[in-house]
Symmetry: D2
Subunit: 146 residues, 4 copies
């Protein structure tokens, strides 16, 4: 399946570590990582997936595909700014949120609106978001519900 | 100023009443109501504003401007589905949320991401959303912070 | 009806004059001018319509409504870059192209794709675009076919 | 490089054949095919590329990735309707148009607006579009100019 990994573009070390572990696990289990293509959680998730031989898609706000972090295999430029957040979650069968701020909140809203299952590690506490402790819990949740 | 009024497309009577009162107050104070153009909270806010002689803009998910509720003065079709949520909040100097579900959550996320002040009546309890009791409180909050 | 007036953002004097006359005529006949909100043909059309007491809508590529030319009554910010071209023609019942370059070409393509009638003054020579000599001819064509 | 192959969703046999040959050549030379993900020219180009072991990206108008033709390796759903045309050409370093109607015209307009080189096989005759006879000519043109 394809899993959108969302979170802040300037993640602190624990968030980056969780995102990298999430990406790695997703790749090991044969899933594609979809993200917003930039830094922080997005980059860590792509790095984790990429190091495990997995596929990564980065859907960017700007119009330059080369703005993607170096671990994005398939960059998609949109030039649409924050409206690209909609595409990030639309292209996952499920969503894992790691930490994150207001942009992540908008993506969680869209994900729930599209009926996607959402697992969250240290993120917004919201109805519909399954709060989990570890990347493994997150991946298992989305595998069971995606 | 322009104020985005957001909330569910199938509001219950108290939410519709609050939205209508919000629209009316905004119009009486010379503000433009921007919304998603459909039913429920959106329609009630437009009705309130329209009855008070105010201007209403409805930014629609579909490609048919005539799908707007009858109290929208300026319908804008987008054909972009939920990505139009971004435009709804982008075109307000401030946002008032009335009740609402996951679509509203995505709009709150985008609004906060754009740095818009957000007042909420019986809506998601989130940092950055000023919870208020009445339409008057909501309008005064956005006037003071927009 | 609503008529999208499209053309270059840096129109030469004859194009600006034709656009202004088109805007004026549309307003005199009770139509709303929809455009891309910026300079050149867009600004001239809005100026003509505005001076004749008509309504003008400007759908902008950027995220700042105040970037609209001063004759836009209702600015709509999109933050979507050139994807806003689609919205410009989607929100007209018909389209009048005045001169214009590649951006205008994309709008003509979308307009024809949406089945909108298109009149053109000194613009791309394309099947489906009714080449006319004067603003009056253009307005009469779209009134007859919109 | 990435090359956007654009054209009608219901191509006649010669157009489909040219599109398939174009996709095959692009893949053989190590390029990625980007397209609108649906049938006709898009499907033929993806089939050609895919049979030659190349990579294919399909950027879809709807919100369901499974609507992509079976030769799309990486489907990207947008839910944005025709506004996705912008993304199709934005994600190619160059564009090859094969036959095509008004949707293709809009894409050519956007491509030229973004400054992309455009080669055309039996398509719209427009300044800026290099009319070529064969898929090989098209690929060589975009390689030399992309």
């Amino acid at each position: 399946m394809r899993v959108s990994v969302i979170g802040s573009g300037d993640a602190d070390p624990p968030a980056a570590e969780a995102a990298a572990a999430t990406g790695r696990l997703l790749a090991e289990r044969g899933h594609v990582v979809v993200c917003g293509g930039l830094g922080g959680v997005m980059e860590a998730a792509c790095r984790g997936a990429s190091e495990a031989g997995g596929r990564t898609v980065g859907i960017l706000p700007g119009d330059d595909p080369s703005a993607a972090n170096p671990h994005v295999e398939i960059p998609i430029a949109t030039g649409m700014g924050n409206a690209r957040n909609v595409l990030v979650v639309l292209n996952g069968d499920a969503v894992i949120a790691v930490s994150g701020s207001t942009g992540t909140l908008s993506e969680i809203g869209h994900a729930l609106d599209f009926g996607r299952p959402v697992a969250g590690i240290d993120t917004h506490d919201l109805p519909g978001v399954e709060a989990v402790e570890t990347p493994r819990d997150a991946v298992e949740y989305v595998e069971a519900n995606g």
